[in-house]
């Protein structure tokens, strides 16, 4: 099962990749929204983990572009971000529309919390494992 990890900070990304590899997930890591669109196209992820604070185009821009393609509409997205104000909007308004399955505020999220969310919302994870 393949995760597209969109995380600008290399130190955090390495920690997430380490934890996800331990769980036998394949991880495609990118730091920018533009690269994430290309990776989504070429790597066909089963789930996306997204930081909203990205250099140049932010995570919200990525989401609106990403969800505009019918092929990717159903790919679940987990937000894992430092941006608490935008997070709140996603918790209340448009989460369902954009197939956002979970919203994590990074300072209050452990890596275990993130892994649990990923397992919970990865399509067919239960059958595969």
């Amino acid at each position: 099962m393949r995760i597209l990890l969109i995380e600008p900070d290399p130190i955090l990304a390495k920690l997430y990749i380490r934890a996800l590899h331990k769980e036998n997930f394949e991880v495609e890591w990118v730091q920018k929204a533009e690269k994430a669109i290309i990776a989504a196209d070429t790597k066909k992820p089963d789930l996306v983990v997204l930081e909203l604070d990205l250099p140049s185009h932010n995570g919200v821009e990525f989401l609106s572009e990403f969800k505009s393609y019918s092929d990717w509409e159903k790919i679940p997205v987990i937000i894992n971000s430092f941006d608490s104000s935008t997070l709140l909007k996603y918790k209340t308004n448009t989460a369902e529309l954009l197939n956002i399955k979970a919203v994590h505020y990074k300072p209050q999220t452990t890596i275990s919390d993130l892994v649990i969310s990923i397992k919970k919302f990865l399509p067919n994870y239960a059958q595969a494992s």
Binding site: P10, L12, L15, R18, P55, S56, F82, P107, I111
Partner: protein, 226 residues
């Protein structure tokens, strides 16, 4: 607390979330490399030190005491202190200055703190670029008005608009400089304040065609006579 200090404090608080999350999550995974965690913590402490030094701003007349300073020695110190942090971000630290630089008027501790804070900000920014060989250059050169000392980077997109736009947005927007995300670039604004307190201004400039943020320090005429 003055409005300026409140804005800087908000930026600092936002900025410190990243190293704290890095430490917490490294500990969660049980990483045995304690030097790595120490380095993250040390860099966070340097940002706090710089902030405290700039706090005297509540007195708008307050200026840091200046003395003749050998800029190359400060640059060497900064390069040493930044090397571990840069290593974690796969970024190379390059030093570039003329050995003939004459002393400049500055506050030694504030100049070092300002350059460290700038360096951390630019290392983080550079790590998010597509450049294959990521590097920052700690440099100083003579100019008509004194000695220009600062941090430069080979990343694309550093321009005046970015800097002045960021300055006007800081304290209002969470990410005033989108090219430097993953936290607020408080260190850069702390550096700006510290240079202000040394009667100088942080501005966008170039060193050997590399863009970066630097300030012009007046040279020490006292020592020129010696």
């Amino acid at each position: 607390m003055s409005e300026g200090n409140a804005r800087l404090f908000a930026a600092l608080a936002e900025n410190l979330k990243l190293p704290l999350v890095q430490i917490a999550q490294s500990a969660e995974l049980g990483l045995e490399n304690t030097e790595y965690i120490q380095s993250i913590a040390k860099n966070a402490l340097k940002i706090i030190d710089g902030y405290q030094m700039s706090l005297k701003e509540s007195d708008s007349q307050f200026m840091l005491p200046l003395e003749p300073v050998a800029v190359p020695l400060i640059l060497l110190d900064v390069a040493n202190d930044l090397s571990a942090h840069a290593g974690m971000y796969d970024c190379k630290v390059v030093l570039d200055y003329s050995t003939r630089l004459i002393p400049a008027m500055a506050n030694k501790a504030a100049l070092k703190s300002a350059l460290l804070n700038l360096g951390q900000g630019l290392i983080s920014a550079t790590s998010q670029t597509d450049e294959q060989h990521k590097s920052i250059t700690i440099a100083a050169h003579h100019s008509a008005n004194g000695i220009v000392a600062g941090i430069f980077s080979n990343m694309k997109g550093i321009n005046k608009q970015l800097w002045y736009g960021g300055k006007s947005l800081y304290g209002k927007a969470r990410i005033p400089i989108p090219q430097i995300s993953g936290g607020s670039p408080a260190g850069i604004f702390i550096a700006d304040k510290l240079f202000e307190k040394m009667s100088s201004t942080l501005r966008l400039t170039h060193h050997n065609n590399l863009p970066g943020l630097a300030a012009t320090l007046i040279t020490s005429s006292q020592l020129k006579l010696v």
